[in-house]
């Protein structure tokens, strides 16, 4: 709560022309913006570019930020849009775009060759990698960060219903990908 009020005070200074005050906001929110950007782009370099672009866009548009709202939430919304722009641009560059409705192509390994922890971790990483950026972001914010659907909706943009849908699709895809691995490993 204190940090939010403090952010608002700093934003007021930035709005008034204090560029160096912006440094505090960048230092405070940099890591969280990176996390969101990586979750959505699944690529470290793209995530770094998104972080830069997000803070540039936020700076240019700081005049439209209303002090009553949370700066963090406003910033993450920009980061989410920015990440989607990056992913779309990347998809366009690909000669062979990914199909919209993809079934998991990964072959199931033989249960006996499965080293549980390492293999499972890799499987989780690749299953998460197969989700759409919005599914991954919504799922991660709910599953790993424990944010409510409402808060996720405020941060990412889509309605609560759309966020619920993304989380459900993510959970279903994860089950399809991981259930065979899990049942094999516990045998």
């Amino acid at each position: 709560m204190e940090a939010i009020e403090d952010d608002a005070a700093i934003v007021a200074v930035v709005k008034a022309g204090g560029e160096s005050a912006y440094r505090t906001l960048v230092e405070r929110h940099g890591r969280n913006v990176f996390r969101l950007a990586f979750r959505m782009t699944q690529n470290e370099q793209d995530a770094e570019d998104v972080v830069q672009e997000t803070f540039l866009r936020a700076y240019r548009n700081i005049g439209s930020f209303r002090v009553e709202s949370s700066f963090g939430t406003w910033l993450y919304r920009i980061a989410a849009n920015c990440s989607l722009d990056f992913v779309r641009a990347r998809e366009r560059r690909r000669t062979n775009p990914m199909p919209e409705t993809d079934v998991f192509p990964a072959p199931h390994p033989e249960p006996e060759r499965l080293a549980y922890s390492g293999e499972l971790r890799d499987r989780i990483a690749s299953a998460l990698g197969e989700l759409s950026p919005m599914e991954r972001a919504a799922f991660s914010l709910r599953h790993f960060d424990g944010l409510s659907i409402d808060e996720i909706s405020r941060r990412l943009g889509p309605s609560g219903g759309a966020i619920k849908n993304s989380i459900f699709r993510a959970a279903t895809k994860l089950r399809q990908a991981l259930e065979p691995v899990l049942s094999g490993a516990t045998r």
Binding site: A8, A9, E27, K164, T172
Partner: protein, 252 residues
């Protein structure tokens, strides 16, 4: 019996479903749904660690290092040490006029010297203009102080712009301090009093501050905690200003 949809099971797992009590009751009664829920549960419980590249505490500073050179060109045509406030003198003049109006209104209410538009302003409206002006004054003072505190590089700091800015702020500060004092607001008066001494020191600084002078000034600013006080007072006044817009309250 109607079974639960998978979407309901997933949302229930996250405590986000509608009618959680009804779902729990159904799960107790229905073996099929209980098994379906358990399948989701075991998969989601297994997803415990998130594959994320590490970024340490210093990351934000690194982001800033890359970002800073790109900022001025996107917003400002050129880097200016102190921002220009073209409308600030007009605001100060408006407040000076209001103070005069208040003075005449109290002393000789039937004199026709005051402009009708201002004279007809209600006390609440006048107070709101004052709050906006003082809030803005504190913002500007804060920006200037932060520029000094955050000045970087090994060279001396050119103070010619800073001095002029401090002089402008000083004039406004005196006016607001007197207004606050006459309306009996001790907190704001003493804060403005302290700010005035700092502004005075900056207004009388040499053309260029050496690294050593700058460090000295910065230490004095930090010891007084003036930046913090200004920021807090500014936030309070903004809050009051917002409250004032809906319901007129006590004086400045």
């Amino acid at each position: 019996m109607k079974h639960l949809k998978e979407e309901q099971l997933v949302l229930h797992y996250y405590g986000e479903g509608e009618d959680p009590a009804g779902i729990t009751a159904h799960l107790m009664d229905c073996e099929d749904c209980r098994q379906a829920f358990a399948r989701f549960e075991s998969v989601l419980n297994a997803v415990a660690e998130e594959p994320l590249p590490e970024r340490d505490e210093a990351y934000g500073a690194e982001v800033w290092r890359r970002l800073a050179p790109r900022l001025p060109e996107t917003v400002k045509p050129e880097w200016s040490f102190f921002p220009r406030w073209s409308w600030a003198p007009a605001m100060t003049a408006a407040v000076a006029l209001l103070v005069t109006v208040a003075f005449f209104a109290g002393r000789a209410s039937n004199e026709r010297r005051v402009p009708p538009a201002v004279a007809s302003a209600s006390p609440a409206e006048r107070e709101r203009v004052l709050l906006i002006a003082v809030g803005d004054h504190l913002d500007r003072s804060q920006v200037m102080l932060m520029e000094i505190v955050n000045a970087r590089g090994g060279r001396a700091l050119d103070m010619s712009d800073g001095r002029a800015a401090a002089e402008d702020l000083l004039d406004a500060n005196r006016l607001y301090r007197q207004t606050a004092a006459s309306s009996g607001d001790e907190t704001v008066t003493s804060m403005l009093d302290e700010l005035e001494r700092v502004l005075l020191e900056i207004a009388h600084s040499p053309d260029a501050l050496s690294r050593k002078d700058l460090d000295g000034l910065r230490e004095r600013l930090e010891a007084k905690g003036i930046l913090f006080k200004v920021r807090v007072a500014g936030t309070r006044i903004r809050d009051r200003e917002r409250g004032e817009a809906s319901a007129p309250k006590n004086n400045l």
